[in-house]
């Protein structure tokens, strides 16, 4: 077997999810190669080459890979896989990986497996279904295994490698889609999916102003990333990339603080693997308390500032 990890990056920097994907790929017990396709991505290839356990970097540079369109990348990955005899393809279970992996698998006529949380060898996986209420063991005899992996289920690959970088010619530009622009949230805070502490707010916050006024001081104290329920995102308190849950981001921090969130199963799906869960809610019967290690029943507008102050006092 020979495994290809698809690097996720912005042409300048490798995304954290790729480090998790490299660790997951090791579970196949076969050499792990990393494909870095983009434009002017020497720095990214260098970063990937420095990861422990990576055998080789395959670098493909062309203007039509700059924006990472699934159409062009899928054709390239399928070409590399067929041309070089790869039998495994691994990508992080991020919006990038979810967009690309199934398209690639279809070009290879194999069934992809999404959101894998454990790998017991090639073709034997466990993944969540039904919003994480059920885990299923999946067995696949496909000649080429194409999977995305849940990043929180695999540690980040450490550095310490010194793989070579080999350049490869690009595949054709299909020219069927074009990036017009990106509006990426800028934040000084840690990345939500990988943060050690997450403070999340729900509809109970009442407005975007209140969300920021109440939660930011607490997040500052804890060095936390900020997250949200779907209700808070739908109501426009915060941008979409804050959403935690079945259809948002999956997080598993050491500490998750849920503020004014009721705890619908779709929300729990995204955070119930956190080490310690704190819930602050005025409704003692809110389902969030069933998964919280420490529940505080009370008005969040009083409790959260007190908590932030209490932490400041040391």
């Amino acid at each position: 077997m020979k495994v290809l990890v698809i690097a996720e990056h912005d042409n300048g920097k490798l995304a954290g999810a790729t480090l998790n994907a490299v660790t997951a790929a090791q579970a196949f017990g076969a050499p792990v190669h990393v494909l870095v396709a983009g434009h002017d991505t020497a720095a990214v290839a260098g970063e990937a080459a420095g990861l422990a356990g990576v055998a080789e970097i395959i670098a493909v540079d062309a203007a039509h890979y700059r924006d990472q369109s699934a159409e062009n990348l899928a054709v390239l990955v399928a070409d590399v896989v067929r041309g070089e005899g790869f039998t495994g393809v691994v990508a992080g279970g991020t919006s990038f990986g979810k967009n690309l992996a199934p398209r690639t698998a279809a070009l290879l006529d194999v069934a992809p497996v999404s959101d894998v949380v454990s790998i017991a060898g090639a073709g034997r996986y466990v993944r969540p279904v039904y919003a994480g209420n059920v885990m299923v063991t999946v067995e696949s005899d496909e000649a080429i295994q194409v999977i995305t992996v849940r990043t929180t289920a695999f540690a980040a690959a450490p550095s310490g490698g010194a793989a070579g970088v080999r350049e490869r010619a690009p595949a054709a530009d299909l020219g069927v889609s074009r990036l017009l622009g990106r509006e990426l949230s800028k934040s000084e805070r840690p990345e939500l999916a990988a943060a050690r502490v997450v403070v999340s707010g729900g509809r109970g916050l009442g407005s975007g102003e209140k969300y920021r006024e109440v939660l930011e001081p607490l997040a500052d104290r804890l060095g936390a990333a900020l997250g949200a329920s779907r209700a808070a995102v739908d109501a426009g308190y915060v941008p979409n990339d804050y959403q935690v849950g079945q259809t948002g981001k999956i997080v598993a921090p050491d500490l998750y603080v849920a503020v004014g969130i009721s705890g619908a199963i779709q929300h729990l799906a995204g955070m119930k693997d956190s080490k310690v869960i704190v819930a602050i809610n005025k409704d003692p019967d809110a389902p969030i308390f069933q998964v919280a290690d420490f529940g505080l029943v009370g008005d969040l507008f009083e409790a959260v500032p007190q908590l932030a102050d209490g932490l400041a006092a040391g």
Binding site: L179, I265, G295
Partner: protein
């Protein structure tokens, strides 16, 4: 422009499913079923495009057992013009659904297919991308805004870092995210009208594609339940416990 909207019949999102005692699957007997919530959003979007004079026809299609007719009637009641059931009692996995949908798209020649981003039962998030690949079409997954401009489509996508806007050549496949729109409720008169709208049934075997499952789901289980925690007395108590018991701050 003709729009094809694939809709899946799934366990209602309010139901907490249980694994069967022999672990061979989940208990579906007597469980409330519904149209996949993302597919409801897709139907809404297609119907709005029709109401705006951009789409000429909205065709809902479902692959599965005869019971999926119910799901198609929901789509018709929301405003789809007609429906197609690709009928089979066999287990369908996303690659097979993608192939069946391709066969339907080859017949129907839509300019746009709007899938859901994911089915809330298998949580696969694959079918739209698979269909787009098989058709050789452009794709825009996780759409929160969609606008047709002549021969092109402008789609805003929800990605991990925020939003991104793409311009796609038509025909194309879009997958809908939660914030694309808020689906309407079907009114009683529209539910009645939907009963008379055309619903064609095509046996899956007639489409001549290989739909045999490629993956085996050998064992289902429920994840370990978190053990219930405690309610703290006040904020000071919470801080003390986080420091001394949990040692996370």
């Amino acid at each position: 422009m003709k729009i094809l909207v694939p809709v899946k019949r799934v366990v209602d999102y309010n139901v907490k499913v249980r694994v069967k005692s022999d672990r061979s699957g989940v208990e579906l007997a007597g469980v409330k079923m519904a149209i996949n919530p993302f597919d409801e959003i897709s139907v809404e979007e297609a119907v709005r495009l029709k109401e705006a004079g951009i789409a000429t026809e909205v065709v809902a299609v479902s692959c599965g057992s005869a019971a999926s007719q119910e799901t198609l009637r929901t789509a018709l009641a929301m405003g789809a013009d007609r429906a197609i059931l690709v009928e089979t009692d066999a287990e369908l996995q996303p690659l097979a659904v993608g192939k069946l949908l391709k066969a339907v798209a080859d017949r129907e020649q839509p300019q746009l297919v709007i899938c859901g981003k994911q089915a809330i039962d298998d949580d696969a998030n694959q079918t739209g991308q698979i269909l787009a690949a098989l058709m050789g079409w452009a794709q825009a997954t996780f759409a929160s805004k969609l606008c047709v401009e002549g021969e092109t489509l402008r789609v805003t996508r929800e990605v991990d870092g925020g939003l991104e806007t793409l311009e796609l050549k038509l025909p194309a496949v879009v997958t809908s995210d939660l914030r694309l729109n808020e689906p309407r409720y079907a009114t009683l008169p529209n539910i009645m009208k939907a009963k008379k709208k055309p619903l064609d049934v095509i046996p899956a075997a007639d489409l001549g594609v290989d739909i045999a499952p490629r993956l085996r789901h050998s064992q289902y289980s429920e994840p370990p339940v978190r053990k219930a925690g405690i309610k703290v007395a006040d904020v000071a108590d919470l801080i003390a416990r986080l420091r001394n018991d949990a040692k996370v701050i």
